[in-house]
């Protein structure tokens, strides 16, 4: 049984809710796109694989400056290292996993979030299409990306 649009959109809602909590509702949601041939990766990426009622992946990818600003907003200080960039991304993806698991229960299995910089260590299989939701905060970009198997639409 494929997920309903509301359920699929829940991933975006959870991500936005958390980012807006940190930024004081300053995240600007730009017009989304559907990509057929490429995946977009920025400086740091937090990737979660899905199995069960939905097969595929979701990830958030963001520029270092985007994470820098998030880090500063949370900790009230400006220094950001490679490690703290990964920590911020781990925190975001961990929150997504926590909330989505709570929402869907046992019907949907989520992998441990995998955080990497620049490009993935292991190749990601390109699904037929990915949904890309650009996000903007203080002129810095992040992208929420979702790739579902085509069987999701049967």
């Amino acid at each position: 049984m494929p997920l309903h649009e509301r359920d699929i959109h829940y991933f975006i809602e959870v991500t936005l809710a958390y980012l807006n909590k940190i930024t004081g509702n300053e995240i600007v949601v730009r017009d989304p796109t559907i990509e057929f041939q490429s995946l977009v990766f920025s400086a740091y990426t937090g990737l979660i694989h899905l199995k069960g009622n939905a097969e595929g992946f979701v990830y958030l990818t963001a520029s270092q400056q985007f994470l820098h600003q998030l880090h500063a907003a949370r900790h009230n200080r400006g220094r950001l290292s490679e490690e703290s960039s990964r920590d911020v991304m781990t925190d975001i993806t961990g929150t997504i996993v926590h909330n989505v698991t709570k929402h869907f229960g046992a019907g949907l299995n989520l992998s441990e979030p995998r955080v990497f910089s620049t490009v993935p260590d292991d190749p990601i299989e390109m699904p037929p299409a990915v949904f890309v939701q650009p996000l903007l905060w203080r002129k810095e970009h992040a992208y929420f990306v979702m790739g579902l198997a085509s069987s999701e639409t049967v």
Binding site: H9, R30, D31, E35, F36, V40, S42, P128, F131, E152
Partner: protein, 227 residues
């Protein structure tokens, strides 16, 4: 505005009609409001995108030339395909007004297409070398290319919520064979104001089939440009 609203021209329009000055495409849209079809359907029939129709509709509302047409529960259920009121277990008196007109509603203009920063790295699939596609016999059609923006707007309007409608568009395009998209050099779809025209009849059919399969609705003729 979600595209599901229904508008009709007002008495004020009738009295001012001879003095109104508009561009021809705006007239086409203004004259298409019939108190029967949704905004999305009216936009399609007038040959303008949903995004273009929104500010014009706001303008017409602001001028008092059109007003939102409330509909009854029966009309709403008929439009959404529910068989009858008893099917949803509701005992409702007839002629219930679902919502009042909101002439003061303000809709922000659509934001421009997203800019991918240069620092962003993309991983691409292998170059788009279309695999052999079985070529069907040419089918004589009396319509022109398919307007991708009209397809997106139509699918989005079916849900009544833009964000969820865009997810439905995504689910539809998951069903469209990638080789057909590559052959037409469609690498992405902008979910607002995509200007692409689909000329391949095989791809047009695949998109129409996917819409029917996923959204359970046939594509209206309005998604095709004139031949």
């Amino acid at each position: 505005m979600t595209g599901t609203e229904i508008y009709k021209r007002t008495d004020a329009y009738e009295s001012e009609a001879r003095t109104i000055r508009l561009h021809a495409p705006q007239w086409k849209l203004l004259l298409a409001y019939d108190g029967q079809r949704s905004l999305a359907e009216v936009a399609l029939s007038a040959g303008v995108s949903f995004a273009e129709a929104l500010p014009l509709t706001e303008k017409f509302l602001g001028s008092g030339w059109i007003a939102e047409q409330p509909i009854t529960l029966d009309q709403y259920l008929k439009r959404t395909g529910a068989p009858d009121i008893s099917a949803i277990g509701a005992a409702v008196l007839p002629a219930v007004v679902l919502h009042e007109p909101k002439p003061d509603a303000v809709v922000a203009p659509p934001s421009p297409p997203p800019l991918i920063p240069k620092s962003t790295i993309t991983l691409s699939n292998p170059p788009a070398t279309p695999p052999p596609i079985s070529t069907p016999l040419p089918i004589k059609t009396n319509h022109g290319p398919m307007r991708l923006s009209a397809v997106v707007d139509y699918i989005t309007s079916l849900v009544g919520n833009t964000a969820l409608g865009q997810i439905l568009v995504y689910r539809v395009f998951l069903r469209v064979p990638s080789e057909l998209l590559q052959a037409e050099e469609i690498a992405s779809v902008l979910l607002v104001n995509d200007t692409s025209l689909i000329r391949s009849e095989a791809l047009q059919k695949a998109i129409a089939d996917a819409v029917l399969e996923v959204a359970k609705r046939p594509l209206p003729d309005g998604v095709y440009a004139a031949a």
